[in-house]
Amino acid sequence: MITSMKNVVKVYGEVRALDNLNLEIAEGEVLGLLGPNGSGKTTAIHTLCGLIEANSGDVNVFGMKQDIRNLKTRQQMGLVTQEVTVFKDLTAIENLRYFGGLYGLKGAELEANIKEVLEFVELTDRAHKKPGTFSGGMQRRLNIACSLVHKPKFLIMDEPTVAIDPQSRNHILESVKQIAARGTTILYTSHYMEEVQEICSRIVVMDAGRAIASGTVEELINQIQHEETVRITAITATDILTNQLKAVAGVKSVNVTGNKYVIVSSVGSGNLNRILEIAQRHGGVADFNADKPNLEDVFLTLTGKKLRDEV
């Protein structure tokens, strides 16, 4: 394990920001941490980085106890914060030199790493420009580069794609995949389900300071009892079609409005083909779609909250 948190409690006044949080991240893993605002994600990250100290519980990073006095663990960790934290009064390369220097890099090694990360985030041609002249997406890429310049073994990314254009977001997501492919362990938090779904090998759902579910996307979807909704627009609506659909095993309800049918059935009942077959036989199909449960449904079921609406 690269890191583990066992029964970690962090209290701010009356609020239990972390409530017996348990979390483990294996080496090389890309773990997605999902949770609405106030669920404790950032407190968990700050505790993992040793920026705040827990009231109780154990936090270990690289086999060492993590606390606010431990500077050793930070040497091999990288933190990409939600906010862009580069120095706007320094050029991109001066920013990278400074951050690299803070991690003890110097000379040829530092310059080689800077060249590599600038190429990686595609900012080589902007190396001598100040970030104030960059677009929001480019500033975020420089922000990430500053956290990568010392080649951390464990990278924590706290919503690195907030408020940027889709093109820059795709660029960042591709970069994360490449960083992971090199063997870097990544903890990634986001409000965007599709991002987490795309890049993370495992997901932990947090709510009220606790990890309430953990697993791959498929495992999480299987954990919830959910319904599947099938929508059919029939060429001709008939009573026979309605009755035949209601008789299919696993179908819970059939609502008809004109020639539009909304059929709700249990997930995993495997009756999609049967429903289509009946519809074609008794009314003809003009249009058809089926909504399968996704991570958003998992989140909604587990926490009772919509992730993005809370932002």
């Binding site: 920026l51 606010i68 906010e83 220097g101 803070l102 110097k106």
Partner: protein, 263 residues
């Protein structure tokens, strides 16, 4: 270069690139002194000593504001925008604070030396004891930075800290400077004279340099209750040092307490 050198150089570079800071902390005092120096000399004895007193008062007053510059950087880097990012590096928070303060102190001191040099070249200033002025300047710069360092620990945000420091430092400059003596001329209260002469850091610095030789002919017969000139110098140096230490110790205690509160 070790990490302290790296961080010191980083703050020094940023301070030197800060146009607004440079304008307020360096260009403005230099502009005012050049304006003062452009005034024609009156023909009276000890004019060189009068210049020495005026320039000394001026550089000490400005040096008391020096700490505010670094304070803004410390808030931005360690309490606001970049707080978590910089604290996540393998560098102790205290190192960032000390390096920023030292860079600012160096610039503040260099600026005072430039003003003194310009004045010495432009006018026949009779310093009598320039080293004492340099020493007092170092003390007032230390005091200013120690006070502002304390504010970076006890105040939550830069806006409040800057407002409070402006209020206190401007207040001290007013009651320790010429304005309160203008009021004294109107109301004739000894309390105003006492405050002006002894209460503020500006008064302490001024008393020390006046009695340490720079006062020259202007200080004759103004000894306080039997104290010799050098006793007065030592007393005021002690007071300035004491105030500096007070803020330094209070900062240290508050930082430890805040770290403890993390648990």
């Amino acid at each position: 270069m070790n990490k302290f050198g790296l961080v010191f150089k980083h703050y020094f570079m940023r301070l030197m690139k800060d146009k607004l800071g440079l304008a307020l902390q360096i260009i403005l005092p230099l502009f005012i002194i050049l304006f003062m120096l452009s005034m024609p000399d009156e023909d009276y004895p000890y004019v060189g000593q009068a210049w020495a007193i005026a320039i000394s008062n001026y550089v000490i007053s400005f040096s008391l504001f020096g700490g505010q510059w670094a304070m803004g950087y410390i808030f931005d880097d360690l309490k606001e925008t970049r707080k978590w990012r910089l604290l996540a590096t393998p560098v102790d928070e205290g190192l960032f604070r000390r390096a920023a303060m030292l860079a600012s102190m160096l610039i503040s001191f260099t600026n005072s030396v430039i003003i003194i040099t310009v004045a010495t070249i432009a006018r026949p200033v009779e310093w009598n004891n320039l080293w004492l002025l340099i020493g007092i300047l170092i003390l007032t710069i230390l005091l200013s930075h120690s006070f502002c360092y304390f504010l970076t620990i006890v105040m939550k945000d830069y806006k409040s800290a800057n407002g409070l420091s402006n209020f206190i430092l401007m207040g001290l400059a007013i009651i320790g400077g010429g304005i309160i003596m203008g009021i004294q001329n109107l109301v004739n209260l000894d309390a105003f004279t006492f405050i002006h002469d002894y209460v503020t850091p500006l008064s302490m610095g001024r008393q020390a340099i006046l009695h340490g030789g720079i006062g020259g002919a202007f200080i004759d017969g103004e000894l306080i209750i039997g104290l010799t000139d050098w006793s007065i110098v030592m007393l005021n140096v002690g007071l300035l040092l004491g105030l500096t230490m007070l803020f330094a110790v209070a900062s240290s205690v508050m930082r430890r307490r805040k770290n403890h509160d993390h648990v």
